[in-house]
């Protein structure tokens, strides 16, 4: 059915986005980038890619943050172009994509305000896709209730926020809880929306969002082990979608250490692999000096694996036609690419060439 009418509204944009996708840096382009000696070389190299002369008007010398900012601007321009040309349900779908950034911005602003950061600096660091009109006012409220009633009530995040009004004070722990509650509600809502679209969109986005939910669940578990968050509270933060739901989630809610986390994830083969090498590393490093550092390393490693798996899932989204998943996938891939380019240019700028290969190749 979707094949019949999809192209009438979205065919053009799908073509555009698939064209954008061909502009994503390839392995050979990455290997060229990693050979660069200076950031000037990076600029020259990027000018031969789809980025074109986006850095041409920048006076030398350039900094990695300029590269990051400018490439983010490329992404934002592309997103806005797609969004401006879209109609229902794609525009709604794209709106949903921005909610994630909005949540990040909200959390960033609240955290910044709690830590007494400069408002202008905070606003500058907000993701442009998650910008909403009344966002700057977030720096004013001091309690969650105020936060909700003064600003968020009129935004699309209002529904997601209802669950966390109970938390009174804005401190670091509560903010984390707010972030995860918001994300849980957001992911569930997004998943419901994609489900309502049906067809291949539901299939592709279901896969991606399930993974996203599982990633959050596992991260929450790992981060909350050994903190004051109770297990019931922890369980409440888990999204109720994903491949670990419900049995894996239950097990994770009860997990007390990494071994139990690993055991809980055994039901899903792909996730098992993340821990497998992590465990080997752990075993090898166990007798060295600090266990904390070791755990940190492992978490970091799992994080990288998550990113790689996310890239993989997003790549798969391009294999199917007549679905909105490509839009999500493309912008996520582009984000990853920007992270990669920024990483590479940081490595070059700080002369840390031994770690320059630690980017996540896409195509």
């Amino acid at each position: 059915m979707e094949a019949l009418f999809f192209n009438a509204d979205t065919g053009f944009l799908e073509g555009i986005v698939r064209g954008y996708r061909s502009g994503i840096l390839t392995t050979s382009q990455y290997s060229n980038l990693t050979q660069c000696e200076t950031l000037e070389d990076v600029r020259t190299q990027l000018s031969t890619t789809d980025y074109g002369n986006f850095l041409a008007e920048e006076p030398s010398p350039i900094s990695p943050s300029t590269i990051a900012d400018k490439s983010l601007k490329v992404l934002v321009d592309q997103f806005n172009y797609i969004k401006a040309n879209s109609v229902y349900p794609l525009n709604k779908f794209l709106d949903y994509m921005t909610y994630g950034y909005m949540i990040d911005n909200v959390i960033l602003l609240i955290t910044g305000t709690v830590n007494k950061r400069e408002t202008k600096e905070l606003l500058r660091r907000c993701h442009p896709l998650g910008w909403f009109e009344s966002m700057p006012a977030l720096t004013v409220p001091t309690t969650t209730e105020e936060l909700y009633e003064s600003v968020l009530v009129e935004t699309d995040l209002a529904d997601y926020f209802r669950g966390c009004i109970s938390a009174k004070e804005l401190d670091t722990l509560n903010i984390e809880i707010i972030r995860n509650t918001l994300y849980k509600a957001y992911l569930e809502d997004f998943a419901t929306f994609c489900e309502s679209l049906g067809g291949p969109t539901a299939e592709v986005m279901g896969r991606i969002l399930a993974f996203e939910a599982d990633r959050r669940t596992i991260n929450i578990t790992i981060n909350s082990i050994g903190t004051s968050i109770s297990k019931e509270q922890r369980a409440r933060l888990f999204p109720t979608i994903g491949r670990l739901f419900p049995s894996g989630n239950n097990a994770l809610a009860k997990a007390d250490d990494m071994d139990q986390v690993r055991a809980a994830c055994d039901s899903v083969q792909e996730y098992m692999a993340f821990f497998a090498t992590g465990a080997a590393q752990e075993g090898r490093l166990l007798d060295t000096d600090s266990a904390d550092d070791d755990g940190f390393k492992m978490v970091e490693q799992i994080d990288d694996k998550f990113f790689a798996e996310e890239v993989n899932l997003n790549k798969q989204a391009f294999l199917q036609q007549f679905q909105y998943g490509v839009f999500y996938a493309y912008f996520k891939l582009k984000e990853q690419e920007i992270r990669n380019v920024t990483w590479i240019s940081e490595c070059i700028a700080q002369d840390a060439r031994d770690r320059i290969q630690d980017y996540i190749p896409i195509f």
Binding site: N32, Q35, C36, E37, E40, D41, T44, Q45, T48, A56, E57, P59, S60, T119, L123, E133, S134, P136, A137, L138, T139, V140, P141, E146, E149, S150, V151, V153, E154
Partner: protein
């Protein structure tokens, strides 16, 4: 391929013979040499280090420097564009050229670099101070607005206050004792004890601001705002924003600080003002004074900035030119290879064989200019690679060649249809556009463009008019040919000309006018006697339809014949016997025969014979469906002739289909039988080895040993040959029929054009041609102008474009498919002149 034979004169018939040349350029004259060759514009350099990254090449440092200079130049031109007053930019042809070759080149570039950097520094400093000043001015202006507008709020608030107080007074008697104090306050113009916040905020943000405040303060506020009428213009971006003055009354420090925080976070600017009216007047005066001062300073800064820009504008174009050329030079140098000792650069490139002497002269010139004694050495390489296609055009043939190039670039040394398009294209156009009047209009328009081409070429014409200008010679010929066909059709703005004695006279009998032949023969074109006759349309239709077929078959036959020079040049005799000959026979036995019948039928005076004129269409159909029978005879022995022709056409099909694959198969078997299997068929083929050897013999192995395998011989696959031949045969046989029918568009468009212009005449001007009195004359003039405008707009421009498109199609599809392989690639030399055109 060997050294191509060079004729004395270049022609468009085949593309220019090209040579692969190798240049040994001493490093110190490399830049000047490339610059010289760029001015000359006839060498296409090959990339000799395709495996090297862009940023690892030798001249990347220079390119970066030039890029930085280019960025500065772009910055200047964007600044000049943004400036509100017009800054004169001296055009390139008026500017003194900057010499970037010769011994002083490096110094010139250094100086230019410094100059540009200085100008940039000066300009950005001025911009900065301008921005700072205008920011300050904006703040002051905002403050002034706040002061002015809030005065209104306060007055209103005062009224309200009195009301509020009165109501209080009614109910709360104990407060009476405060009355005198309050009176004191109001007499000294002090407001009620509500605190307030005043400021300015972006109008777009105002609603959100209001909403957020309402929520944050839970409604405990009284807010008022007014629009500031004039926009604020950002000095840096030139964008204008509208703003509003707001004043918020609230109670309590906590609330006030919240208001301040919200307004700051929403990008508002706060201006604290005094509740005391006198003090407000005082500060207003002060603000006004400071605004005046700032205005003065700002004006001075602006004018000195403008002076700077004017100075830049004088040499901007020559800078642009230099930067563009230098970049091209260094990018070309990056394609070169260093020899082992890094003293000499080795370049390879294609150039027209004819121009080698010119290139050598240029090389010598470059050496002399740069003041060294070691000249660059040029010598030709022998190669088996296909050279690029270069059609040497001039301003007249350029447009026609572009028409064919946009279909496909000719294979090297293939017969170039662009040459014939010079005549066939305007002619086929004119067949569809035949009208003396309309033809004259476009002829004159094109003539104007041709006569003033020097002036027009300099001016920026815009995309659409620029396109017409580019095709001015095509249009000129189209106009001339249209006038010619207009005479043939005897059509001028849908009217006829009586140039000679008509062959018809019109005696009137019983109110019915019937034409009678009077023995004259109209000397040229259509007899005007047909104009207005009731059977005029029937006559012209039949005439134009048959003419279209005749022209079409002629055009296709001609195109088919163009195969022969190709087959001879590329030594493919088989293609003549197994391709050209049966194709020709097939086409001529059906459509050639039809053309002969058409002409024969025209020569017979059917009114004098007893026979009925046969329908040629039925005749052609019957020739296929009922071979051997003829219903209405055109000439004696017709059935035998037709059966014979059908037989010939029938034989031609298997001829085309089978002969070539069969002979190739036999050839392959022969080769196999002699045992030549294996070696030649793997990877590169014999040719590549051969090339390698040659290169080594000439002692320049490094530069020439490269990817020869991009020319690797195609594997001889018999299946492929058969399939190709089947497709080709089917395409040709069906194509013959559909293409002949396709030429009927000549008739259709010509008919549509004639009818449309007649309708236009009848609907507008025809009724007012004999004006009575002044009003009639005025109407005639008005209608005449309307008629002329519509003639130009619809009949000349729109119909002209449509006829152009159809002529284009007839060339691309019907004619080119008969012979044009178009498998070449364009010769793109390093050419400074084209470089500047591109921008």
């Amino acid at each position: 391929m060997g050294t191509p034979v060079v004729d004395e004169y270049s022609s468009l018939f085949r593309s220019e013979p090209m040579s692969l040349v190798q240049l040994f350029v001493p490093a110190e004259v490399a830049h000047d040499t490339v610059a010289e060759l760029g001015e000359l514009g006839n060498v296409q350099f090959k990339d000799l280090n395709p495996d090297v990254n862009q940023f690892q090449r030798s001249f990347i440092g220079e390119i970066r420097r030039v890029d930085e200079m280019a960025r500065r130049v772009r910055f200047f031109s964007s600044q000049i564009e943004k400036e509100k007053d017009h800054i004169p930019v001296r055009p390139l042809y008026d500017s003194a050229p900057l010499i970037t070759v010769g011994p002083r080149a490096a110094q010139t570039m250094d100086e230019l670099d410094v100059t540009l950097a200085e100008h940039e520094a000066k300009l950005s400093q001025m911009n900065e101070s301008y921005e700072v000043l205008s920011g300050r001015l904006r703040e002051l202006v905002e403050a002034r607005h706040v002061l002015r507008e809030t005065a209104v709020f306060f007055e209103r608030a005062e009224v309200n206050q009195t009301e509020i107080r009165t109501s209080f007074d009614d109910s709360s008697a104990p407060l009476l004792q405060h009355d005198d104090r309050e009176n004191q306050f109001s007499s000294s113009n002090i407001q009620l004890d509500l605190e307030f916040v005043t400021g300015v905020i972006d109008r777009a943000r105002l609603p959100t601001f209001e909403r957020v405040l309402w929520r944050v303060l839970r409604g405990n506020l009284y807010m008022n705002h007014t629009d500031i009428a004039e926009p604020f213009i950002d000095a840096a971006t030139g964008a204008s924003t509208y703003k509003n003055v707001f004043i918020i009354f609230a109670h309590g420090d906590a609330l006030l600080s919240k208001i301040r925080k919200v307004s700051e976070s929403m990008g508002g600017t706060l201006y604290p003002i005094d509740p005391n009216a006198d003090k407000r007047v005082e500060s207003l005066r002060e603000v006004n004074g400071r605004i005046e001062d700032l205005d003065m300073v700002l004006y001075n800064t602006g004018s000195s900035r403008r002076t700077e820009l004017v100075k830049i504008g004088e040499s901007l174009k020559s800078w642009e030119d230099v930067v563009r050329k230098e970049k091209a030079v260094y990018e070309t140098l990056n394609l070169f290879n260093y020899d082992v000792r890094r003293k000499t650069l080795i370049a390879e490139g294609w150039c027209p064989t004819r121009d080698i002497t010119m290139i050598q002269l240029a090389l010598r010139h470059a050496t002399e200019e740069s003041g060294t004694t070691v000249p660059p050495i040029l010598h030709e390489l022998r190669t088996n690679k296909t050279p690029p296609t270069f059609q040497r055009t001039n301003k007249f043939t350029e447009g026609f060649q572009t028409i064919m190039d946009s279909y496909g670039i000719a294979t090297y040394e293939e017969v170039n249809p662009g040459l014939f398009a010079v005549i066939t294209f305007p002619f086929l156009f004119a067949v569809m556009f035949g009208d003396i009047g309309h033809g004259t209009i476009i002829f004159l328009a094109a003539l104007f463009m041709v006569l003033y081409e020097r002036k027009l070429a300099r001016a920026d014409l815009g995309e659409i008019f620029g396109m017409f200008f580019y095709g001015r010679y095509i249009i000129l010929l189209m106009g001339a040919f249209s006038i010619y066909t207009g005479f043939i059709y005897n059509d001028i703005f849908s009217k006829s000309l009586h140039l000679f004695t008509s062959g018809w006279s019109w005696p009137e009998e019983h109110g019915v006018v019937t034409g009678a032949a009077n023995g004259h023969v109209y000397a040229f074109g259509l007899d005007p006697g047909w104009h207005g006759a009731s059977n005029a349309l029937i006559f012209t239709n039949s005439y134009k339809m048959k003419m279209s077929i005749v022209l079409g078959v002629c055009h296709m036959t001609f195109a088919l014949c163009l195969q022969v020079p190709n087959h001879i040049r590329f030594k493919r005799p088989l293609d003549i016997y197994a391709g050209f000959v049966p194709q020709m026979l097939f086409m001529q036995s059906i459509f050639g025969y039809l053309v002969i019948c058409i002409v024969y039928k025209w020569t017979v005076d059917w009114s004098k014979t007893s026979a009925v004129p046969p329908s040629l269409l039925t005749m052609l159909i019957d020739m296929f469906l009922k071979p051997g029978t003829v219903e209405t005879q055109l000439y004696a022995g017709q059935s035998i002739v037709q059966s014979g022709l059908l037989l010939i056409a029938g034989i031609c099909v298997p001829w085309m289909l089978c002969v070539k694959p069969y002979i190739e198969w036999k050839e392959m078997n022969r080769v196999h039988a002699q045992g030549y299997v294996g070696v030649g068929q793997d990877a590169n083929g014999i040719g590549a080895r051969h090339g390698d050897l040659e290169g080594e013999e000439e002692g320049n192995g490094r530069a020439i040993v490269e990817d020869m395998d991009d020319e690797a011989h195609e594997e001889h696959d018999f299946g492929e040959v058969v399939i190709h031949q089947v497709i080709h045969t089917i395409e040709f046989c069906l194509g013959c029929i559909s293409h002949t029918a396709s030429y009927l568009r000549l008739w259709a468009l010509s008919l549509a054009h004639a009818q449309l212009s007649e309708v236009l005449w009848d609907m507008t001007i025809a009724g007012f041609l004999n004006p009575s009195g002044i009003i009639g004359t005025i109407i005639l003039i008005v209608v005449g102008v309307a008629w002329f405008a519509l003639t130009v707009g619809i009949l000349v421009v729109m119909e002209g474009l449509s006829a152009f498109l159809h002529a284009l199609r007839l060339h691309w599809v019907e004619a080119n498919s008969k012979h044009y392989q178009a498998g070449g690639y364009q010769f793109v030399p390093l050419d400074f002149a084209k470089l500047s055109e591109k921008d």
